[in-house]
Symmetry: C5
Subunit: 248 residues, 5 copies
């Protein structure tokens, strides 16, 4: 559970609605269906046009990671690698076969498999780094879906506002109708800017940070597996990998 993410959404929401209340505005002034229709529809339409389907699906699925990210245990990862190194010392690389079978993380299992197969360190690194790069790229692409929606939303909001203003301008001669009309038009701007700045862009940013964190975890795994392949001693491996834990 990422309480900070939830707090961020709540704080942002309260800031707008509460601020409006403090200024003496009514909540109903912020509710406008046509504006919501334009901003949500336009933003989603643009995203749908620009995003390949698998990426769009992944982006939607990743949204849950913002509020409830799956655990990622660096300390435990180091401990795990040290256990492998000890096992490899005692029983040789082939002794890792049973460890590999019971390992639940697919990436770690692949690393173990490569060790058991007796692959060269360089080729282990190549295979594992290719996968790390492809995964990070895929995760960053998912984050970028929100980023680009955060780029479209404010401009679509402006379209909504201008649409409203055009409608209003037809009644310029009657100032009494003018004000409320403009007010309605401005709501679209708020929807677009708020959706982008209080939700879409921060979400993209958090997903990016997560993607990099996962890559760092995987890079730690790679360094550990390579070190085992090169027969380094378990304590040296532990020392080396703690750098990833301390300065994350």
């Amino acid at each position: 559970m990422d309480a900070l993410s939830i707090a961020g959404v709540v704080i942002g929401f309260i800031a707008i609605v509460g601020g409006n209340y403090l200024e003496g505005g009514s909540l109903s002034a912020l509710v406008n269906l046509p504006a919501a229709f334009i901003v949500a529809g336009g933003t989603f339409g643009a995203a749908a046009l620009q995003t390949p389907l698998p990426r769009l699906r992944l982006a939607l699925a990743r949204l849950s990671w913002v509020f409830a990210p799956p655990p990622l245990d660096f300390q435990g990862g180091v401990a795990k690698i040290v256990r492998w190194a000890l096992a490899a010392r005692k029983e040789g690389l082939l002794g890792l076969e049973t460890v590999a079978d019971s390992e639940r993380d697919a990436f770690a299992r692949k690393g173990l498999q490569l060790l058991v197969d007796g692959s060269e360190p360089d080729s282990i690194r190549a295979v594992m780094e290719l996968e790390t790069d492809l995964r990070e790229q895929r995760d960053v692409d998912a984050a970028r879906v929100y980023e680009s929606m955060g780029g479209y939303a404010p401009t679509i909001g402006i379209i909504g506002a201008v649409l409203g203003l055009i409608h209003v301008m037809g009644n310029l001669a009657d100032p009494a109708k003018l004000g409320p009309g403009i007010a309605v038009a401005f709501v679209a701007t708020i929807y677009g800017v708020a959706a982008a700045n209080l939700f879409l862009l921060p979400v993209a940013s958090k997903l990016r940070a997560r993607a990099r964190l996962e890559s760092q975890y995987r890079e730690m795994m790679i360094e550990g597996v390579i070190a085992i392949a090169e027969g380094e001693n378990p304590r040296a491996i532990e020392l080396k990998l703690t750098g990833f834990v301390e300065h994350r």
Copy 2:
């Protein structure tokens, strides 16, 4: 058929027109020939001035890829390479000659030809990567044509709006004429912003994603061909290449 692309265009269009309808605006308020003339003409003029002819042609041709992209079968690509590897095992690299002749994909055929010619792995990689880079660059350049049009359209829209406002300002003393005049002027802004955000920029983005996908496919081909050249066994090749399929 990329249904998502078509849905994206339709959703974006409905959002604007439907939102306008919900706000009580008439559809006719969104139709304005001079504004369309300015935005379309200005945007295309800028694109024509900045783009070399072959690139402009390619960009127009690539537009069909947004809605009906040619198939790109990663799984099938792996299967194909594994078949080649098996053939090379049985009959030697020369045995790939007949395979090469019947291969329809020009890039794959080139790779096979290089294998049959007995080129060094490094030189195969150099030739194939050069081609991959040049192709991706060319495809990205085509996508950039839409990107830059998406940059020009809103500013040209503003020119259209200011032109309209200038025209309107001549009648400031008569408020009854003021409103409708401004309304007309604002339509140019909507045309520019909507064309950019609901069509041009998303199209550019999808073409970029496609260009990278093609490069990944080609990189997979290269890895496969190199692995065959280095005599790796077919199962190892398959394992290696599945990384490209899984984490795309």
Copy 3:
């Protein structure tokens, strides 16, 4: 003759002037000397302050390339290299001396000279790539002059508009004078935005594309010369270089 460039300028110009006409505006409303003075002067002043003299001169000279670019014959370049390779096969590298003397392209001549001098492939590559990089950087710098002018023009246009508005504001009490005054002020915005988007930025973009095209041509030359230095056979060289021609 780059007809597309000329068409681009003409189309952009017609879009603005024609659109203004269609909206019912008079052409005279778009002519405003003080606005032109501010935008042109300010933009050129900023460019002069920021650009070293030789670069500014080169930028002005390169402008002709946008409309009448010197020819750049990739196919012919490949044919030329193949002829050199054949000559080198028959008469040895020294046999290229006479070819070098009659070669008109300075860059190609330098490459031939290096071949005749018997330089190592690595050192030929170093010398020729240094020159290619320096040339491209210089050409890109020239393109950037237009790019930065395209950045300054709209903001200077805004200065012009604000200047006009300040002037107008002195007469707020007299609405009859207000409108035309604002109209005049807005013309500066149009000048700035149109100059940037319909001329300066596209010109910069085309010059950048040209600079990269020249680099690709030179890189093709380098690959060819290196291949000759390494004694590759003419047909292999031709195959290698066609990649540059096909996927440009």
Copy 4:
């Protein structure tokens, strides 16, 4: 104590408040609780949503570095390394063990430890550069928290202004109420733009500069430790490292 940072904040504050006073505005016109609530809440909410908790904590802790940065003594660092080199000359690398025990800087201590352990220069470099990179990345991430807040603040300020304008528009028919209402609405813009430009963005920039300075210090340490490991003579090491001091 970084007097310049404090001066910067004070000068910026005086410029706004003093300028307002010189223009004849009252200080009270700049105080508006709802606007502050919206801008501060929205900006912090966005930052909280986008930032992982450890990074947010670090960012807050690093704020003190802007005004009172911990000392970083390049000259002293060179002197220290030269002392180590002399000690290593006299007593061998093992003689650095006592030095390592009394060294207070954790990074330098790690380097000494690696020397004492007799690690290869390449492996020392790898370990120390990994740590330097991770640390710099972490520090830059902390700086980016302020950068992104500096990006959100002005747009949230605009939300505040539009909220105010909507509220005001309800009273368009009564011009006497209009002016003060708009004034209040504008204060939110000032809060957002001023917070970003007079505090958040400069703070981010200074923290970035500091992060790079620390990396340079660590790179100097790495070069020194490597040079000791390679047995270079102390004077040569000093000469080499002064480059870091002179041209910082």
Copy 5:
């Protein structure tokens, strides 16, 4: 003396003041002390907060380089290196000792010293490139001070304008006071935008160009010194280095 820089400042100034005069505005309308106070104070405050003191000092010192840059003689540099190469041919590298003593350029002297000391080419390159990189980074950092001031100035100008508008809004009911008040408020915008676009950003750009030019000069020096260390013949060195002169 860089006449172009001076011309740039003068042209930009004349464009604004002259354009204002042509539009019929009075010069006094452009003079506004509170606006100047806000823009100058806010911009400098932000710069002071974000910039470390040595960098700020360097930036101020480098300003003179924009108008009176110290000479940088590429042709003379080549000639100098060729003289060194001839001396090294005749008297050996030790013969360069007297040349080094009389060399006034510190960077060139360091290179000569390294030659005389008999350092390896690779280590000469490492030391000299480190210094070149650090110097360029420092110079670019100084240029960036103006760049960031150019980023702050317009937004601070907007703060000034909004402050003015708030003040003005208190008198909305009295249109006679409205106009002049708004006019005064707009002057802050002009100050901010003009300071950025007609001075700060171009200055940053010119200092960046200069920094790169110096790096190119130093890279030429490095190539020359390395070539001497590797015993290349003087004429070959001259040919190699002319690339730096011709295509600058």
